[in-house]
């Protein structure tokens, strides 16, 4: 084994039940050779952080379409900072207006992918931003 596989947690924070995107991304990342863990619906920020620790992931992908991102995402990035887990790459997707994306980037969400994004673009972004030993 020359290379460890990139481990990704795909998470659905909050009460939003729209998981088509999350599931499609999960599968695309897996097909691209990554190890993918999907949390399922209705995850609290605490549960997501816990899963990230347990699964020892390199990447957290957050998906939300309910409009609660400006409340839930900062909770998650704050917790990551508190627990010194900032080496984890955090990306997000969903129905997220452009002006919010600027704010989310400042909080430490490296990239927000909006509807219509090619999954290959996400794969490339992760590979570029993660150097797995």
């Amino acid at each position: 084994m020359s290379k460890t596989r990139i481990r990704v947690l795909v998470a659905k924070p909050g009460l939003d039940g729209h998981d088509r995107g999350a599931k499609v991304i999960a599968r695309a990342l897996r097909d691209a050779g990554m190890e993918v863990i999907y949390t399922g619906l209705r995850q609290t920020p605490e549960q997501i952080i816990e899963a990230a620790v347990q699964e020892d992931v390199n990447v957290i992908g957050l998906s939300i379409l309910s409009g609660a991102h400006m409340y839930l995402f900062p909770k998650i990035t704050d917790m990551l900072k508190e627990r010194k887990m900032t080496d984890i790459l955090v990306i997000a997707g969903g129905i997220i207006p452009a002006e919010d994306i600027v704010e989310l980037n400042k909080m430490g969400i490296k990239k927000v992918f909006t509807p219509g994004t090619d999954t290959k673009e996400i794969v490339d972004f992760i590979k570029k931003n993660i150097a797995v030993a």
């Binding site: 009460l15 939003d16 088509r20 599968r27 209705r42 129905i95 909006t114 509807p115 219509g116 090619d118």
Partner: protein, 555 residues
């Protein structure tokens, strides 16, 4: 018709007219596919419909098997109900939006609830943080419902409520508000979605496990058949199944399979099929492929009529009629060049109308970016009005009947849906097929294929994988007031202070006791809401007795 002559003519045309052209100018693609990847032939002619018996398979509108529509005059009698799904923030704000829509010519209300309401949490629950008032209006108690319908006479409008797991509670609140307005329950018109099976499959707002959930649903069937004869007790929904990525065929197959499960459950409870079946209604998606969608609606009507008649022995014609609401496909809206969405919505709405829908919601152009703005909602409503009043497609019933293509496609969809339904029967019915993940897996596979087709440019999405252009960001997006959550929590506290606590506790205890028996729970829930018990309190009683559903995820 002399099919021999047609056959000969077809051969002559192929040899003399078609082939020389094909040799010189090959077609754009080797294979042509519908939006759901069904193969489409170059041409359809009378030979394709030779075996379709008009009287048996198509017939006349308002007559069995209702392929051409559930009413004999369709839109010549009355246009479909133009019903825009709306609601956000608190009850006051939503009430203003409803009055605005009614003033602009909308003919029915469609209530969007926020996620905490849909999952049976009060606004002050820790799970509700950040979600209050976001995707719909927050309703904690009867107090909010009174404000929501203030100044809207409930005997004059029909109201559709997108509520599933706690549908019984919201319906109880609606009945209580009507009573305060002096409107008796038997005058109420409307629909509750009340379709839990598709929540497990695709939408995610479940609370309880399947068995007690089915019991609540059949309690509602029974209660309404006596007390609310004009109420649609369920809206069996393919919409969200399609949004989750299914094909057109899967949408119909899984929806009808769920429908079969509800009828089965009600019959097992001892209800007479002709007592409750007339109030079952459906909800479908209108996607991009115009002819496939039209055929899909026609096939669904025909299939349900056959199922109700042959499988359940229903005799009342109303039990056989598949009446449906349609919403244009949210998943087809693009964040890129959002104004193009207006055209997509127009075509999808046209499919719904040509497919004979009873009511319609048209999506707004900005919904891939945020909740729709007032201006975008108005364009969406105007789209329906242009189709209804200007396009002329409403002037004759089922205008595409007899089209070789439409009739062939209707028949093919019907056959393919039946293959799925047989498969689900063999698996033990829809609840079992959902439990073992069959349905979800099928949908996920289609969703993934759809995405790959777009990325491989097998499917072209204008502005996304072709014809991209520089764009400016869309302005005037709707923002939900961030203070809503705090205000809503304060209102809830006030309500709790002003109500008679003893009475609330007594009613909640009675409900819990009844939940442990097989008594119909509706009267108990109505008593609870009238005491101003909150949605969360009521659902907690039921959680204690029924437990909570846990999704087992398979990717």
């Amino acid at each position: 018709m002399d099919y021999k002559k047609v056959k000969k003519a077809r051969k002559d045309w192929t040899d003399k007219t078609l082939d020389p052209v094909l040799k010189k100018f090959p077609e754009r693609k080797e294979k042509f596919l519908t939006g759901s990847n069904k193969e489409v032939k170059r041409l359809y002619d009378p030979l394709d419909t030779e075996n379709i018996d008009y009287l048996k398979e198509i017939g006349y509108p308002g007559d069995y098997p209702y392929t051409r529509g559930v009413q004999p005059t369709m839109y010549r009698g009355r246009l479909w109900t133009m019903r825009q799904y709306a609601g956000f923030g608190d009850a006051e704000e939503s009430n203003r939006r409803y009055k605005y829509l009614l003033k602009n010519g909308q003919t029915g209300l469609s209530i969007a609830f926020d996620l905490p309401t849909q999952i049976g949490y009060d606004s002050d629950n820790s799970m509700s943080h950040g979600e209050v008032g976001k995707v719909g209006v927050a309703i904690d108690s009867l107090k909010d419902m009174e404000i929501l319908f203030e100044g809207i006479p409930l005997d004059k409008v029909s109201t559709s409520m997108t509520i599933n797991a706690p549908a019984a509670v919201l319906l109880a609140m609606y009945i209580a508000v009507a009573e305060k307005q002096g409107v008796p329950a038997n005058k109420l018109n409307g629909t509750i979605q009340n379709d839990i099976l598709k929540e497990y499959i695709a939408r995610g707002t479940y609370i309880f496990p399947p068995l007690p959930s089915m019991r609540l649903i059949t309690d509602i069937f029974e209660f309404c058949s006596k007390e609310l004869p004009r109420w649609n007790t369920i809206s069996i929904s393919g919409y969200h199944i399609r949004e989750a990525g299914s094909s057109a065929i899967q949408e119909i197959a899984f929806t009808l399979a769920n429908g079969i499960a509800y009828v089965d459950a009600a019959v097992k409870k001892g209800l007479d099929v002709d007592n409750f079946a007339p109030r079952l209604s459906f909800f479908f998606n209108a996607h991009n492929d115009l002819f496939e969608e039209i055929s899909k609606f026609r096939a669904a009507r025909k299939l349900w009529a056959k199922i109700m008649k042959e499988r359940f022995g229903a005799k009342n014609p109303k039990s056989l009629m598949l009446r449906f609401h349609t919403q244009t496909a949210g998943c087809t809206l693009t964040a890129q060049q959002p104004d193009n969405n207006i055209i997509r919505v127009t075509l999808q709405a046209l499919a719904a109308v040509l497919g004979g829908t009873q009511s319609l919601h048209t999506n707004s152009r900005d919904e891939a970016l945020s909740l729709p703005s007032q201006k975008s909602v108005r364009i969406a409503l105007r789209t329906q009005q242009v189709i209804g009043y200007e396009s002329g497609v409403t002037e004759t019933v089922d205008p595409l009947a007899g089209s070789y293509y439409i009739e062939t496609m209707t028949r093919e969809i019907e056959d393919e849906v039946m293959v799925y339904i047989d498969k689900i029967d063999k698996l033990g019915g829809a609840p079992k097929a959902i439990e073992n993940g069959f349905v979800q897996r099928e949908i996920q596979n289609s969703a993934y294929q759809y995405q790959k087709d777009i990325e491989d440019k097998k499917k072209i999405i204008v502005g996304v994988n072709q014809f991209q252009s520089e764009e400016e960001t869309m302005k005037d997006l709707l923002k939900v007031n961030p203070k809503i959550e705090k205000q809503q929590v304060e209102k809830l506290e006030d309500t709790k202070k002003s109500r008679a606590g003893n009475e609330v506790n007594k009613k909640l205890k009675e409900l819990k006791k009844a939940a442990n028996t097989d008594k119909n729970l509706m009267p108990f829930i109505i008593d609870c809401v009238k005491s101003y018990a909150t949605l969360g309190e009521i659902c907690d009683q039921l959680r204690d007795v029924f437990g909570e559903y846990k999704d087992s995820i398979k990717i």
